[in-house]
Amino acid sequence: MDWSEFFSMGGYAFYVWGSYLVTLILMGGEVVVLLRRRKLLRHQKRSGLETRGKQ
Amino acid sequence: MFRWVVVRDLTLAWKGRVDVLSTLFFFLIVVSLFPLGIGPETHLLRLIAPGVVWVAALLASMLSLGRLFANDYQDGTLEQLLLTPQPLYLVVLGKVMALWLVSGVPLALLSPVLGIQFGLPRNALFVLVVSLLLGTPVLALIGSIGAALTLGLRGGGLLVSILVLPLYIPVLIFGAGAVDASIMDSGVQGSLSLLGALLMLSLVFAPWATAAALRISLE
């Protein structure tokens, strides 16, 4: 397997790898944002419940 | 009932005619911006004229939507209208028609003047008017859906634009296409009939969607 040939993608490396990189960023980003949402939600719940308890 | 709504809206429009005229002035100003931005070369202006006039018509139509429901919503009339035994479809149709008579028709009638400024030939000017007369009611009808959905929301006009402009695109394509076709001297009938088809479709479906949207927004 000629790795340098694989990475250069026949000269189109920028376009091909660029595309898959953007894919990774967007899909990965979507998952990351969702996980952050979980943290935010938990944080909200915690502070929300505490104030409710004080009432 | 339908006639009552139309007459009422027309009367209100006459009372606030400054508002109405501003739609027209907006149209004029926007169209004039393009030669200022691009240059006065007549050949180029003639090429871009159909698109420019039509886009300006789109934007002006969209701005006029603010007058469709907002005032009635604020003074409570809209809720009353919802309670009448008359089908809401007719009420909506009446309001949209009044809006079109006051904003769309003057726009269409003024367009030849702008067309001349851009050097359009006479047959193209005629097609421009016809295309706008066919297209502006479609714009008002589709726009009414957006106006009804966004009643009372912050972000007002901009939000309506985001919702409605993509839906305006077919009207733009066929309308400007008709004028283009008249310059090339072929296919005008095709474009105009497609525009007519859009008008038929929107007359049937849009007021229904708008009525549904009004009920949703007013609950």
Binding site: V31 | L159, I162
Partner: protein, 251 residues
């Protein structure tokens, strides 16, 4: 089994949590498999060289963008017609993923276009229609984001989505028509790749991977939407707080 019980957000929440790994893990595996198939196994195209390998993500992304829009409209319509909150929440959950895929297909389409057409953007029928689809998604998302009352947001979104879905064929037709009118703008430097079996295989694997990914991600988002909207219910507070004894994806 009483399926109607799952129509309530409360009951669906744990079910969704259990379902997620069953989609997420196969999605990841298929992605790796698809990438291997597409980047290694599939032969180099005679006309486009290795540049064509972008289609293995571009085409699935484009399809997902379109399919998800229709799905979103269907869920929104059901949620409106049957007053089914969960269905409307599903529509909202789908919207973001659909927009993401549509945007991705535009970017990858552009990156594919540069070596094959010579420019970063071409106003051809497909790309232009995809751009308009992105606008439709943005409209739906913006509308829902601007409405505070969740039920009004659900129903307003439903009207917009239904109007949008009806307009999509009209828009597509008009853009096609517009494109043939102004012919001559698109010059292809290289022809389209002919699809040899290994290429088709890679495409199908990637498409399936994107589907599974979408289901997993949408279910995750749906769960957060359920939690955020059922805030007053005590159970939701519990679920959001304790990490112990809950399925991983739920916390």
């Amino acid at each position: 089994m009483n399926w109607y019980k799952y129509a309530s957000p409360t009951s669906f929440y744990p079910l969704a949590g259990k379902m997620i790994p069953w989609f997420a893990i196969p999605a990841a595996i298929l992605f790796l498999l698809g990438l291997y198939q597409g980047l290694f196994v599939a032969p180099t195209d005679s006309q486009q060289g290795d540049a064509y390998r972008i289609i293995f993500i571009h085409v699935p992304a484009a399809w997902m963008g379109m399919l998800l829009y229709v799905l979103m409209a269907i869920y929104a319509a059901i949620g409106w017609a049957f007053n089914a909150r969960l269905s409307s929440m599903m529509a909202s959950a789908i919207s973001i993923t659909g927009a993401m895929f549509t945007f991705l297909s535009l970017v990858t389409g552009s990156l594919w276009g540069k070596p094959t057409w010579g420019t970063w953007w071409v106003w051809d029928a497909r790309l232009t229609s995809t751009l308009i689809l992105l606008f439709l998604y943005i409209g739906f998302i913006s509308l829902q984001a601007s409405i505070d009352d969740p039920r009004r947001a659900d129903r307003a979104g439903a009207v917009l989505a239904i109007v949008g879905v009806i307009n999509v064929p009209i828009i597509y037709f008009s853009v096609q028509w517009w494109n043939t009118l102004h012919q001559g703008a698109t010059i292809r430097l290289m022809g389209k790749p002919t699809m040899a079996p290994p290429m088709l295989r890679a495409m199908l694997i990637m498409l399936t991977a994107c589907w599974l990914y979408s289901i997993a991600v949408v279910l995750i988002r749906l769960r957060y939407i359920i939690l955020e909207r059922e805030q007053n219910a005590a159970w939701a507070a519990e679920a959001a707080r304790s990490p112990v004894g809950q399925p991983r994806w739920g916390t």
